[in-house]
């Protein structure tokens, strides 16, 4: 497996079984887990201590077993808006994803179903994407949202919606072109169509992609 650069990861997961598994998996892929903790408080402390390249956290954690992990992630990003955070959840929930994407400037965040860690390569790719400031939303959440054909997405053509879904999943233009079996230029054209229809004025390209995803999530 290709790893662009080894990442220093802080991992928060209350189940010892999964924590050890994730440490092994990330190590196996060339990344270093500098701290592996079991609750939200320890996560905040560990991030302060280690200044990692990326944080991976579970949603449900002690002491309340509600959404402590998610809230810790949001809090961390309030203090350090550029800190990349990948949240793993056992639920497909737009609400959790939206809360996370609203934190900071919406870049460098990911919301993935825990199932995805099984797809080792995809998972590690998504982690790299998040660490590099990308935005990754679980395909399952994206699929749910696609069912809701409401403004402002109503104006998009089916093809444009497909492209937007792939953007939300963190794919690059090249990857999208391969997936849809079209040229990269065609993808670019679809993207500018999307940005125009979603009323996103021309600015820094990466940032506008994130805004498009956010518009998509809030629809």
């Amino acid at each position: 497996m290709r790893v662009d650069r080894p990442l220093r990861v802080v991992l928060a997961e209350d189940s010892v079984l999964l924590r050890d598994g994730l440490v092994g998996l990330l190590g196996r892929c060339g990344h270093e887990v500098v701290a592996a903790v079991g609750d939200a408080e320890a996560l905040v402390t560990a991030v302060g201590e280690h200044a990692p390249d990326v944080v991976v956290t579970d949603v449900r954690m002690p002491p309340g077993f509600q959404d402590e992990g998610l809230h810790a992630a949001v809090r961390l990003r309030e203090e350090r808006p550029t800190l990349p955070v990948l949240v793993l959840s056992q639920y497909v929930q737009r609400r959790y994803a939206a809360e996370l994407l609203d934190s900071g400037d919406g870049t460098g965040v990911g919301y993935l179903l825990k199932d995805r860690v099984g797809q080792v390569e995809e998972f590690v790719e998504a982690l790299g994407e998040v660490a590099d400031g990308g935005t990754v939303v679980d395909p399952e959440v994206v699929r749910q949202l696609l069912r809701r054909r409401r403004d402002p997405l109503e104006r998009l053509t089916p093809r444009e919606r497909e492209v937007l879904a792939l953007i939300a999943q963190g794919r690059s233009n090249g990857a999208i072109a391969r997936e849809l079996v079209v040229s990269e230029a065609a993808v670019g054209k679809h993207i500018s169509g999307i940005l125009m229809k979603l009323d996103l004025p021309p600015a820094d390209e990466t940032h506008r992609r994130v805004l498009a995803v956010l518009a998509y999530l809030r629809a």
Binding site: M1, S15, L17, L18, G21, L22, G24, L25, R28, R60, F65, Q66, D67, Q90, Y91, V92, Q93, R94, R95, Y96, L113, K114, D115, V117, G118, Q119, V120, E121, Q144, L145, R147, R148, R149, R150
Partner: protein
């Protein structure tokens, strides 16, 4: 309007000529007879039981004496109808289990049983002589006075009430007239005694309003407890699955995923890929199952978010227009959420609708929810529909669920639950 009981009858004109004095007399007469039999029975069984108790065999007999209050009270409730037709319900509860033992323990624990035993003792010792006395003074004495001319004709002389000797006809007819007046007065006396007697009996052997009220409250509470227990169990199952099976399956897919990276291409890699896929499918199914049991978003973010989430999952596009100022109680949120889910599932399955809408809010201390679709209608909340159970759950919270679905549509489901925002 007909008088409802002897007391009302007493205040009406024409009482003396109505059936009520005779009903009262009948009530007192049967009361006297029952009382005598009861007295003899109680004395005999108590004495025999007391003596035999030394040899233990008398104890069941004493027990029977106590329980004799129950059939006596049942007879009294029947007799009560003579002067007070308003039903006096049985205050006893059915025993929880079949069998004599359960029946005995239930009865001996009930206050009603002991009240009825007290009533039986009072009846045997005090009440029936009063009945008899009232009969003698109110009916027999006036009758003998009325009968003075007859006695004079038969015996040549008559001693009225064993006091006044009457030998002449004018005096005899004078007494007969007096007797008629006394008979009217006696009719009132009979009515008053019978009415008082019936009132006392009702007080002793009919269930009290307070008891009934307490039982209704207790029933309502036990239903609420049942729903709460059900909810708690749902959450427990959800947690167990989440912390147990789901975690292990994730770990399994992770291990299989890593193994696939290491496996050289060949049949082993294919097998691994297949196993990996199966585990992934199992995980997805388990996730849906857990979500159906108790969605996490409901606990974390409340009804509005959970309904939006349910709308996201619906096969038919759903517009959500729900405005809640705060969180509601867990029970209300859960009931409302599951109603919406069931309604949306029905829309997806049966209605043929192209669009649905969930709207509502919290107004005047009530949560209102409205699920509307543009389908073909004809939905029923009756047998076989999941809505029946949900209607029950809503009614436990004192809420109402109504469904309007004329053939041709549209279908409109309305839920209304009284509640205050929790925060």
């Amino acid at each position: 309007m007909h008088p409802r009981n002897v007391w009302q009858a007493l205040s009406r004109p024409g009482y003396a000529l109505s059936a009520w004095p005779w009903r009262s007399a009948g009530y007192l007469l049967t009361g006297t007879l029952t009382g005598v039999v009861l007295l003899v029975g109680i004395v005999l069984s108590a004495v025999a039981g007391g003596v035999l108790a030394l040899a233990l065999v008398g104890l069941p007999l004493l027990l029977c004496t106590v329980l004799a209050g129950i059939p006596v009270a049942a007879l009294e409730r029947l007799r009560l109808r003579l002067v007070d037709p308003e039903p006096a319900p049985d205050p006893h509860e059915p025993p929880g289990d079949p069998g004599l033992r359960a029946w005995l323990t239930t009865r001996l624990r009930e206050r009603a049983t002991w009240r009825e035993f007290g009533h039986a003792l009072l009846f045997a010792g005090l009440l029936w002589p009063v009945d008899a006395l009232a009969l003698a003074v109110g009916l027999l004495c006036p009758l003998t006075v009325v009968a003075t001319p007859v006695l004079l004709a038969v015996f040549g002389e008559a001693k009225v009430l064993k006091v006044w000797l009457v030998t002449g006809w004018p005096a005899a007819f004078g007494f007969a007239l007096l007797g008629l007046v006394l008979l009217v007065l006696g009719a009132y006396l009979l009515g008053v005694v019978a009415g008082a007697r019936a009132g006392l009996t009702r007080l002793l052997i009919a269930p009290r309003e307070a008891d009934l009220g307490a039982r209704v409250v207790e029933l309502a509470r036990s239903r609420v407890r049942l729903v709460d227990a059900f909810e708690a169990e749902r959450r427990r199952i959800e947690r167990d699955l989440h912390d147990g099976a789901q975690v292990r399956l994730v770990a399994l897919t992770m291990t299989l995923g890593l193994a696939r990276l290491d496996a050289p291409p060949g049949p082993l890699a294919d097998q691994l890929a297949k196993a990996h896929e199966e585990a992934g499918t199992a995980l997805a199914e388990l996730r849906e199952l857990i979500h159906g049991i108790h969605p996490k978003v409901l606990a974390d973010y409340g009804l509005e978010a959970a309904v939006t989430d349910a709308a996201d999952r619906s096969a038919v596009p759903v517009d959500v227009d729900l405005e809640l100022s705060g969180r509601l109680s867990q029970a209300v949120e859960a009931a409302a959420y599951f109603v919406v889910c069931e309604a949306l599932a029905n829309v997806g399955r049966h209605s043929g609708a192209s669009r649905a809408e969930v709207s509502g809010g919290h107004r005047d201390g009530r949560l209102f929810l409205l699920v509307r679709d543009d389908g073909r209608g004809g939905a029923r909340a009756g047998a076989g529909s999941g809505l029946t159970g949900l209607a029950d759950r809503v009614s436990v919270l004192d809420g109402r669920l109504t469904l309007s679905s004329p053939p041709g549509g549209p279908t409109l489901l309305r839920v209304e639950i009284p509640c205050e925002p929790a925060s």
